[in-house]
Amino acid sequence: MTRSRAALLLAFAAVWAVAAWLLWRSSLPAYHLTHLDEHALFPGFVLHRARHFSGVERLFWVGQTVTQLVVLGLFARYGVRWMRESAAGPIGTGMLLGMIGFALVWAAELPFSVLEVWWRHRYGLDGSYVQATVGDWLGLGARFVLLSVALAIVMGLARVRRIGDWWWLPAAPVFVGLTALLAFVSPWLLGGRPFHAAYVSKLERIERVHVPVRVIGGFSEPNAFATGLGPSRRVFLWKPITEGVFTPRLDRFVIAHELGHLAHNHIWKSIGWYALFAFPLAFLLSLAARRRGGMGVPEAVPLVVFVYVVLQLAALPLRNVVSRHMEAEADWSALRATHDPAAGRDLFRLFAGQTREDPDPPWWDYVFLENHPTLLQRIEMTEYYRRHYAAAQSP
């Protein structure tokens, strides 16, 4: 490596680090959570069921991941032979190869998808065999569209003579722009019906965020999320979280959590993090593509798809760290807005019974699969708040 390249790399790393530090900053206090005994928080049968359910779910994930890597590895080696099934020119052929790669992965993962539905049924959770097979087969088409657009962009850029192997430099901002556009537009596409509760406007006033809160159907599990940019910002509640055991007090905590995401610009920050990962990822993909003649030729696509999946897997722990950090900030924001740690604690205890989520999973599950703090950590945060803040403030 030449000195100028090393300097450039160093400068890039410095910029990356500064940007990451800026994005990492949050309103979370410097806290230390006291470890709680999960057996004191959750009934024994709830813990046992959650452990058993999550344990097998983890095995499914491992099976799916290994299958995906094996299939794409083989596809990287032999996938080029499907080029003869195309009359679409280099870019179209690249799209076809990419789609076939993921189609083969889908087919290989199908047994796991079916087993997962069966496993969910055993634990009283919803799941549809049709959705997992035929329904997902059609859903595959939607994923193919995104993949085709992505490949059309990178291959199109790589085929421009003046850009060539430097395609990753313009491609990364293009993808960041598309992600931002999607985040901006998607709330209007989701629909839903308005959610009315007296406490919403009070929470909005406290968190200084005034956005519509909507309920969307079609889900069987309790959940909520915040999305959108600027005028499209919304909070969406999945219908089950507004019903049954989820009392208005618990819903208030949920909405406060989601408003916290918007109050602390987490959607923008997510896009920022995406941008930080996009550049090095695209660069590494361009290095891989060069081994097969560059991203402009379809022969590179099977290998690039494989490398992409490997890099995504490698980056997963880091992305989960970022995601957990933002979720913790949203939890903290909810505690400050509601001053109701008991509601938070009850909500997270309820989740373990409702979703069969393991409150305290093993370390590797935490590293690879948990994009939220564990239920135990979230309860520990409510306890921390109760001890240090709630006593000093009235609700």
């Binding site: 099934e85 870019i91 179209g92 083969l104 059609l138 193919f144 569209v145």
Partner: protein, 416 residues
């Protein structure tokens, strides 16, 4: 490929008597009553023949003769009802007495397993016959004892649409348009082959290939919009066949987006052609690309061709390609009323499209197993795509040549 033992013979001269056409449905009532009665009898005949064929390995000669007469009579009656022929048919199903006739095989050896499972094996053919027409509606309804089935089978979309349009044409001109007659006869012929297979006349599966079905019929003149490509290439990749629908979705979305722009281009071209008498060449080129691209995508989606198509509709890149004319002078009246004039073609295109969907599903299963498309179904689908491309070209002012409904390719098609 050997000729199918059930052969359609077309000796119709296209001349029609207006009064009998006007009252065709009413005049056919005695025939419909007669075929219903005959059907009740044939149920027992076929059941007996099924046992005989299972045990002896070939149908009994007498029972076979009765069944042949029934199938032939059904074909005569369908031809009469669907205006594919003019004279009032006899009631006995005699061979050689009717302009749309059938040549049926002598009783020969039949495979026992095919006989045993006949009722299941015939289902795909009956499904396609539903789309093409020419099913013996009342006959099969009585056999199955389920009127719901009879309705579905009797409503042959293609033959019925041709008859509906032909009825108006005949009342106006005294002649059945050749394209409609050919299409109707093709549907009737396929229905007859399906019936012959179902009723144990032969164990040869129906063949949907239009050229084989209407081999003796005079080909229509060459159309300016026509398909070119390698007709013998039936090879299919099983992986891309299995995932054909999701793989086509990016193309469908692109087709949709391009279609929106094309719509406005066609509107602009309509004004240009109306005033100048000739389409604008730039718009003509743009729309031609779209029409060709649409053909490529449909050929891929409906399993007429194997490779993944390009996104630009460029000529000469796809195995099933479209020849389109250069901009030419067009009659302003025909341009002005193009949408109205295109309605009959759109109706036939819709009827054909119904069969295209069924053919694609059937081809999907066959191609997954064999790695190749069945010749007959592929050719039927290519016929539908050709007709729809001609309709699209007509509707979008690429030509003023009306789509030709005949399943046969135009004469003197240059080999490319």
């Amino acid at each position: 490929m050997d000729a199918h033992p059930v052969r359609l013979i077309v000796k119709d001269d296209l001349e029609r008597s207006r009064p009998t056409v006007f009252f065709r449905l009413i005049l056919a009532i005695p025939q419909l009553i007669w075929i219903t009665i005959w059907t009740i009898g044939i149920v027992f005949v076929v059941l007996a023949n099924w046992f005989v064929t299972l045990t002896a390995g070939r149908p009994a000669k007498t029972l076979h003769g009765w069944t042949c007469a029934y199938v032939r009579y059904g074909t005569h009656l369908n031809a009469y009802l669907y205006l594919a022929a003019n004279p009032y048919p006899g009631f006995t199903g005699e061979q050689g007495e009717y302009p749309i006739d059938l040549e049926l095989p002598e009783p020969g050896p039949q495979k026992r397993w095919k006989t045993f499972f006949r009722i299941f094996l015939v289902l795909p053919a009956l499904l396609l016959a539903t789309a093409l027409g020419g099913g013996f509606s009342t006959g099969f309804s009585s056999q199955k004892g389920n009127t719901k089935y009879s309705g579905a089978f009797g409503r042959g979309a293609l033959a019925a649409t041709c008859a509906f349009l032909g009825w108006f044409a005949i009342l106006a001109r005294g002649r059945m348009p050749k394209g409609l007659r050919d299409a109707g006869a093709y549907g009737i012929g396929y229905g007859a082959q399906a019936a012959a297979y179902f009723l144990l006349v032969t164990d040869r599966y129906p063949n949907a290939d239009p050229t084989a079905m209407l081999g003796d019929v005079e080909r229509p003149p060459e159309h300016v919009v026509r398909l070119v490509g390698d007709a013998d290439d039936l090879r299919f990749s099983r992986v891309t066949v299995f995932f054909r629908l999701p793989l086509a979705i990016p193309h469908i979305i692109w087709l949709l987006l391009w279609g929106i722009v094309t719509f406005f281009a066609v509107v602009a071209n309509w004004f240009v052609t109306l005033f100048r008498g000739t389409p604008a060449s730039s718009l003509h080129r743009f729309i031609s690309r779209y029409v060709r691209y649409q053909l490529h995508v449909y050929a891929f989606l409906y399993l007429v061709a194997n490779p993944f198509p390009g996104f630009d509709g460029a000529p000469g890149r796809y195995p099933i390609d479209l020849v389109l004319p250069q901009p030419e002078r067009q009659n302003r009246w025909k341009v002005g009323f193009r949408i109205i004039l295109a309605i009959p073609a759109l109706l036939i295109g819709t009827a054909l499209g119904y069969g295209l969907g069924i053919a694609a599903v059937l081809t999907w299963f066959v191609a997954l197993v064999r790695g190749a498309a069945p010749w007959g179904l592929r050719n039927y689908s290519a016929y539908v795509l050709r007709y729809q491309a001609q309709t699209n070209a007509y509707l979008s002012l690429l030509t003023e040549a009306y789509p030709h409904a005949s399943p046969l390719e135009g004469e003197d098609t240059p080999v490319e």
